[in-house]
Symmetry: C2
Subunit: 292 residues, 2 copies
């Protein structure tokens, strides 16, 4: 048994106790660790969680997000389960990034056992509030989920059933004041139900890992999430010019520019979508950015 | 030429002028109609629009939503274009439902011409603010889009590029105070960009036509959008009992029930997700529904 494989116990008074765990409701009384202990000091951390029965799309996206987060220096936290959790840990390890598995059993007997658990002991970290020797009891998992979210700045959910453990993790995250990100998918697959539910309830819809990195102030600038604004054209320029220093209604613009109201309205919608003008609830338009 | 194929012109003072068009900014001065004229009096109307280059998923969903709307007596409005528009009109016709194509050219020369346009003249309705003989000029289409949304209680967008005509229709709808619904999809397809953008900007994510019908008060009750609540279990029942007539914190509940705080927290999250209790921002829990 090398040093990595000996379980280590820390308590809240320990200097290595994760700061993010301090403010949560019902914090663990102690944490057991096994693997690369210094990983626990590496922040930021983001959880990537989801169903044990993903689609190939979900599995590929879990790997894509976890790999990009790991490359950016983010520690990827998950639950060691088959499916999404497995893909996330594996992708982070493949990038030589940090990854932590939070267990619902003792760290000396990770469940499911296997190659991934062994790799995490060697190159990642197993973490649990349950004593060594403790088996993976069903009621441990929702408790375990509050530690997954509690360790992290935010939780990304990639495919989840309508009522599932991943949604419980997301709910903990929201209650703990952490970000909740959800990946959308096809409406004809039941594993999209959970993430779509989260989006409806206020989670951020994410399409790329760069959006998460940007929200955390780790802008990788590798992928532009939005298309560049379109050139505004002659009638657009005339409107932008007219809006310099003034807010005007569409009717006022049409009158000043001697153009048909409908043409002005069309151009305004295009300018608004390109981010050049903003429309107030009262129907007044104002300049946001003079030109793309 | 039978009666259906003769273009008919109506003006805002006409009794058949669509009421929903009256309050919009820059309303058309007149409408040209060709086909089954009484269709114009049939409400409610919902627009189903999207890209000319859909995925098989998008095409199937356009047909699914349009068919269900048509079966429920909703008139399906779209723009006759290839792709999503075509699938929506076709599905509505196949259900013997009402469907209206709003054109960016004269109703005597629908574009694109073909079997669908012919079928719409016979069993649906072509509608345009442009004079007979007018060709489909590019600047007509954004104008046409404001009539699509203006005719409808809401607009459903099924697959759209990041900056596209469908998003312009959705923007008109929002400006006109109409509902905007967007279908999510896979993040690795560019045709999901537009609908995901709409969802981020506040459009309602929809998974099924029943959600749209419910919002319009036409509940078909054919498909339950949510899973039935889970049974609450013994510890759940104890908490629900304790919350009868009182709002309590998790700590207070744990103390009254002599249970560990973490166990109470887990049960509270499960009860919250099942809709039995609600959590206030201050951390107080209250009863929503005693039992599923």
């Amino acid at each position: 048994m090398d040093a990595h494989s000996v379980p280590v116990r820390i308590e809240p008074r320990s200097a290595t106790w994760p700061e993010l765990l301090r403010p949560i409701e019902g914090p663990p009384e102690a944490l057991w660790l096994r693997g690369r202990l210094p990983l626990l000091a590496r922040t930021p951390r983001v959880a990537v969680v989801g169903t044990r029965a993903p689609t190939p799309y979900g599995e590929a996206q879990a790997a894509r997000f976890a790999a990009a987060l790991a490359r950016a220096g983010v520690t990827v936290v998950s639950g060691l389960a088959r499916g999404i959790d497995h893909a996330a840990h594996r992708a982070a390890l493949d990038e030589d990034g940090g990854t932590i598995a939070v267990l619902g059993c003792g760290v000396d007997r990770p469940w499911p056992a296997g190659e991934l658990a062994d790799a995490l002991v060697g190159r990642g970290l197993l973490l649990s509030e349950f004593e060594p020797g403790e088996p993976p009891r069903p009621h441990h998992f929702p408790l375990r989920n509050r530690v997954i979210s509690g360790l992290c700045s935010g939780v990304l959910v990639i495919e989840a059933a309508q009522a599932s453990g991943s949604l419980i993790t997301a709910r903990w995250a929201a209650d703990q004041g952490r970000s909740v990100w959800a990946l959308p998918g096809r409406v004809d697959h039941p594993m999209s139900r959970g993430t779509h539910r989260l989006i409806r309830e206020g989670a951020s819809l994410v399409e790329s890992p760069e959006e998460i990195l940007a929200e955390m102030g780790l802008d990788s600038a590798k992928e532009a999430p939005n298309a560049p604004p379109n050139p505004v054209g002659e009638s657009g320029l005339a409107i932008l010019e007219a809006l310099r220093g003034e807010t005007l209604t569409a009717e006022e613009l049409a009158s000043r520019l001697s153009r048909p109201l409908t043409t002005v309205l069309v151009t305004l919608v295009e300018l608004e979508m390109a981010g050049h003008v903003a429309r107030t609830p009262g129907g007044l338009y104002r300049l946001v950015r003079a030109s793309g």
